[in-house]
């Protein structure tokens, strides 16, 4: 088997990750049991595991709600991010005027925007998609824009001597060259999408893991809240891994040394 690129994914890397996770959990367990801290404040990992098992159908049901929001939100973000990146790439004037606004859009505190969106659009899917889309389209836009601009200037000259139109250069050269960057953007988006969905649910929702967390804490079901967090993390890791695998399958060329080019 071909050794997988980038250390952390190799066999030794996985082993080290497991050792590290075990050590952290062990430390947590020891602290929770030995310090005599109340279970409501800090449940031990075993308590969280028990909650995971006990509430499995509830957690699964809520995960399907949140997962739907995350996945649809990422689709929204990909469409919006691609459109933004292409627009900014093709029109330099737009880039100069609109890029600062894009950056500004990321400084708007979601915690404030989320309740407003809920007030406008109710407890439906729409405000969740808007929030997940808002936090996710930025990494997609920035990485894709960089990818589109990363094409070798010599290659651009070659395309010009082939009488390639702007569209041809975009289609034949720039767009394929930007695909690895698009995947990087999507991987970053996955991680923030989960946070976005939880915030959106907490702002106003009748279900979802974010809603479950907000409910569990006043009910002194802290272990259940932690279990929900564990489920969310596992979901994000699975999505991240799926994207990485998909990229390896779809863009094998992006992970090879380029060879003869000095």
């Amino acid at each position: 088997m071909r050794p997988l690129v980038r250390g952390a994914t190799g066999g030794a890397g996985v082993l080290r990750a497991i050792v590290l996770a075990t050590a952290l959990l062990g430390g947590w367990q020891a602290y929770a049991q030995l310090s005599g801290i109340d279970d409501f404040l800090l449940p031990a990992p075993t308590e969280v595991a028990r909650a995971l098992y006990h509430d499995r159908s509830l957690l699964w049901q809520q995960l399907t709600v949140t997962a739907g929001e995350v996945l649809l939100g990422i689709v929204v973000a990909l469409v919006a991010g691609l459109a933004c990146a292409l627009t900014l790439h093709l029109w330099r004037a737009v880039r100069r005027t609109a890029y600062p606004l894009l950056v500004a859009s990321q400084t708007v505190p979601i915690v404030i925007v989320a309740p407003l969106l809920v007030a406008w659009w109710g407890f439906d899917l729409a405000p969740k998609l808007a929030i997940v889309g808002l936090v996710c389209f930025f990494p997609v836009t920035v990485t894709t824009l960089d990818g589109l601009g990363s094409v070798d200037p010599e290659l651009r000259k070659l395309m010009r001597t082939l009488d390639a139109s702007r569209w041809q250069t975009l289609r034949r050269v720039e767009a394929p060259a930007a695909l690895p960057a698009l995947f990087s953007g999507a991987r970053i988006a996955v991680a923030v999408a989960v946070i976005g969905a939880v915030l959106a649910e907490q702002a106003g929702s009748s279900d979802g893991l974010g809603h479950l967390i907000i409910q569990s804490i006043p009910q002194f079901e802290t272990a259940r809240a932690y279990a929900a967090v564990a489920v969310l993390s596992a979901f994000a890791i699975a999505l991240f891994g799926a994207l990485t695998l998909a990229e390896r399958q779809l863009l094998p060329w992006a992970h090879r040394p380029t060879g003869g080019t000095p």
Partner: protein, 272 residues
């Protein structure tokens, strides 16, 4: 299927009507048969440390079908000359006329996601051919020029010499009468370079094109060209034109080749 034998990709058989790009139409060649006609051209660049004159009074002519090698000290504006010939830039003074030209750079610039065949067929795709049709047109050239069997190879699977050959095929398939080659083999090791030069000589014997070959390798110039033009240091201009009247195929150990190489080096040496 093309007929057997010396099937060539002729410049006058375009896949489509040559697209006229605003401001870049090929100038009329006129009565003279020069495919390239650069007359007393000057070109300067603005840099942070003030303007740099790349070319000053450079002239160059290439008859249709002629292979002209341009040698000169580094930084003498050779690449600028090729970009002028390809209409990638315009001269500050003087005139550039001639047939449409395609540029081939020192690096192969192959697209890592496309097979060798698709890379070579890129100009046909850009010209609007469908993928199947473009491949069909590119495939015979692979067989004729000794690249048969490498069609489906990805660029990373090819050696430097093979990559450069695929880049040459792509340049040929652009279907332009003039090839502007910018140190095409400079990044290859000595042995591979010699083999690839030999291969290019054969390819050019099959595919009659006008070639302007910029190189710093005097031997390459003498082995490949009909005429060697020597440039001065920056601002570059032509200072000598040495016809290479040696029968092909030329061996680099041939006394006539060695003698002309020495003369070219002398002409170069007088400039530095």
């Amino acid at each position: 299927m093309p007929a057997k034998g010396a099937m060539t990709v002729r410049p006058e058989a375009p896949v489509r009507e040559p697209r006229t790009v605003k401001g870049r139409e090929p100038r009329p060649v006129g009565a003279h048969a020069d495919a390239v006609r650069v007359v007393a051209v000057s070109r300067a660049y603005a840099t942070r440390r003030g303007p740099v004159r790349a070319l000053g009074g450079m002239s160059l002519r290439a008859r249709a079908g002629e292979v002209v090698a341009v040698v000169g000290p580094s930084g003498c504006g050779k690449s600028t000359l090729l970009e002028l010939i390809c209409r990638l830039q315009a001269p500050d003074a003087g005139s550039v006329e001639g047939a449409p030209a395609v540029l081939m750079a020192q690096r192969d610039l192959l697209l890592p996601w496309a097979s060798a065949l698709d890379n070579a067929a890129l100009p046909l795709l850009v010209a609007g051919a469908r993928r199947a049709r473009a491949r069909e047109r590119a495939r015979p050239l692979f067989a004729q020029l000794g690249l048969g069997g490498f069609e489906t190879a990805m660029p990373h699977e090819l050696s430097g010499g093979m990559r450069q050959r695929v880049a040459v095929l792509r340049t040929l398939l652009a279907g332009k009468p003039v090839l502007a080659l910018d140190e095409p083999f400079a990044s290859l090791d000595a042995l591979t370079r010699a083999q690839t030069q030999e291969w290019l000589a054969q390819a050019l014997a099959r595919e009659s094109r006008t070639v302007v070959l910029v190189t710093h390798d005097v031997e390459e110039a003498v082995v490949l060209a009909d005429r060697v033009v020597v440039m001065s240091p920056r601002p570059g201009r032509d200072v000598a034109s040495l016809p290479v009247e040696i029968a092909r195929p030329r061996r680099r150990t041939d006394p006539a080749v060695v003698a002309l190489r020495e003369r070219t080096l002398e002409a170069l040496g007088a400039q530095t």
